[in-house]
């Protein structure tokens, strides 16, 4: 069963300037002794501070906050890409993150090859892929273009492929960073319907957005983030409206 449990999660980024990343500097520092501390040249960014969060099936969480409040970092922790620097994150269930839907797509590969690549990452066997390929291809409406390298695509066409493959599987946990419109008007409507049905089917949804209207229509709880902390939690109306 799908669940998310974050306990006292902190994410701290070391930002190394060019000197901090070089081995030579590291060696010199060791030789010179701890004159200016071990962290010379390293700036630390606290992206998440002491975040607690528990989600169960049926939860649709709205994530609000200004740019840089820590929403994307939190989504990356939930996707499993970032393991917290301290605290614990227990995430069970298959996660799909629509954070960057063009993830790992290669413009020298054909649309079809890119779909196969993404499917492999999602854990699909060749047979499962073969079963879904037609559906995905049909959804993109690219016809013969699907067998051409993606560098020949317009950006809208590339997004169609990315979107179709990103939404082909029903995950247990769905992470979305801003619902963006994909493609022209006709396709955008189709895409919206597809993602809505996905949001319906997934056990847990986490949606970050700046639009109160979107959050209110899809979510049943909300948290507001500021400076890496959760500063408010409650219903969408309480948190977003306030």
């Amino acid at each position: 069963m799908a669940s998310i449990a974050l306990r006292d999660v902190c994410v701290e980024f070391p930002i190394y300037n060019a000197a901090g990343r070089s081995l030579r500097r590291g060696l010199l520092r060791t030789v010179g002794g701890g004159l200016d501390g071990a962290d010379a040249g390293v700036v630390r960014v606290q992206a998440l501070r002491n975040v607690d969060l528990a989600l169960a099936p049926g939860d649709r969480l709205a994530l609000v906050g200004h740019n840089g409040a820590g929403k994307s970092t939190l989504l990356r922790v939930l996707s499993g890409a970032y393991e917290p620097s301290s605290g614990e994150a227990a995430i069970t269930g298959r996660v799909a993150s629509l954070l960057d839907i063009t993830l790992g797509m290669d413009e020298d590969l054909t649309g079809r090859e890119n779909i196969a690549l993404r499917a492999a990452f999602a854990g699909l066997t060749r047979r499962e892929l073969a079963e879904r390929m037609d559906e995905i291809a049909e959804f993109c409406e690219l016809g013969a273009f699907l067998d051409l390298p993606m560098r020949t695509y317009s950006s809208g066409m590339a997004l169609r492929v990315a979107f179709a493959v990103s939404t082909a599987l029903t995950p247990d946990i769905l992470l979305i960073d801003e619902l963006i419109a994909v493609g022209d008007a006709g396709f955008a409507a189709k895409a919206r319907a597809r993602i809505e049905s996905l949001m319906d089917r997934t056990a847990i949804l986490v949606l970050a957005s700046h639009s109160a209207e979107i959050l209110e229509s899809y979510c049943n709880k909300a948290i507001r983030m500021e400076g890496g902390r959760v500063v408010a939690a409650g219903t969408v109306r309480e948190v977003v409206g306030g």
């Binding site: 081995l23 499993g80 996660v95 020298d108 990452f121 390298p149």
Partner: protein, 271 residues
């Protein structure tokens, strides 16, 4: 042991999980590795056979020049060069690609919980596929010069297994370090270039004096090269070389384990 306390039980468990799920995700890493090869030669008419062709040209050209420089018979020297340079390309390729193993995978690692080992195995797949293309040269050269290695050639298989095991550890270790220290790719290029001259690829160990020859067992490149290239040429590597191959593997695996288990979780933060 002091190192024991560096890694918490949790980190160790996560690293083991990474290694095992990563290894079992073979559809992903074979796919990525093969794609790397296909992509490099896309839109070229000969495609990946450029790998084979470049090797043939190199072995033919350098072979003729060096045979006359070293005053060796071409019939003797060129087969030697073909086998040793083919294996060298694998060793050098793994060493150089190790530095980019995680930085190259940044978009994936930043967004999803994919075992890091997947990308190590992708680098290994890519280099093995290139090795297979290069290896095609060896029997052709042998045919031209009438060399027959006999069944000793089969010893190349355990040799290759040792080389790949060492490569698996080294790519993990170097990958972690190179993600943190961005000078390492440049350093590694120079190390590999230097190692090329210090390793019997273009010259033979017999050309060294006995003392210098003993030093070769401390050159890991030379050890693993000899374990694969010698059998291909029909010579069984001496017992000492096998022992060196196994002996080097242990500290290598230890260092790789410490680095990987300790810093695996930090990799996405360093990208």
């Amino acid at each position: 042991m002091a190192f024991y306390h560096i890694i918490s039980r949790r980190e160790a468990a996560l690293a083991v999980a990474d290694l095992s799920t990563g290894s079992r995700s073979w559809p992903i890493w074979t796919h990525l590795g093969l794609m790397d090869i296909r992509q490099r030669y896309r839109r070229s008419r000969l495609g990946q056979f450029w790998i084979t062709l470049s090797m043939a040209l190199f072995v033919g050209g350098i072979g003729l020049v060096n045979a006359s420089l070293f005053k060796a018979a071409a019939a003797d020297y060129i087969p030697y060069l073909a086998a040793s340079f083919t294996v060298w390309t694998l060793v050098a390729g793994l060493a150089n690609d190790a530095t980019g193993v995680f930085t190259q995978a940044a978009p994936f690692l930043r967004q999803a919980a994919i075992p890091k080992t997947v990308f190590v195995l992708r680098v290994m797949t890519r280099n093995l596929v290139a090795f297979a293309h290069n290896l095609a040269i060896v029997p052709m050269v042998f045919l031209v010069f009438g060399v027959w290695p006999g069944t000793t050639a089969l010893l190349a298989l355990p040799g290759l297994a040792l080389l790949l095991a060492a490569g698996f550890c080294a790519v993990h270790a170097v990958g972690v370090l190179a993600t943190r220290f961005r000078d390492l790719p440049q350093i590694m290029q120079n190390v590999v270039q230097l190692a090329f001259f210090l390793t019997p690829v273009m010259w033979r160990p017999e050309q060294l004096g006995p003392q210098a020859r003993a030093l070769l067992s401390f050159n890991p490149f030379a050890v693993y090269l000899s374990l694969v290239a010698d059998p291909l040429l029909g010579r069984a590597p001496p017992l000492g070389t096998w022992l060196a191959g196994v002996g080097l593997l242990l500290p290598l695996a230890g260092v790789a384990w410490i680095l990987f288990a300790r810093f695996r979780a930090r990799i996405p933060y360093w990208l």
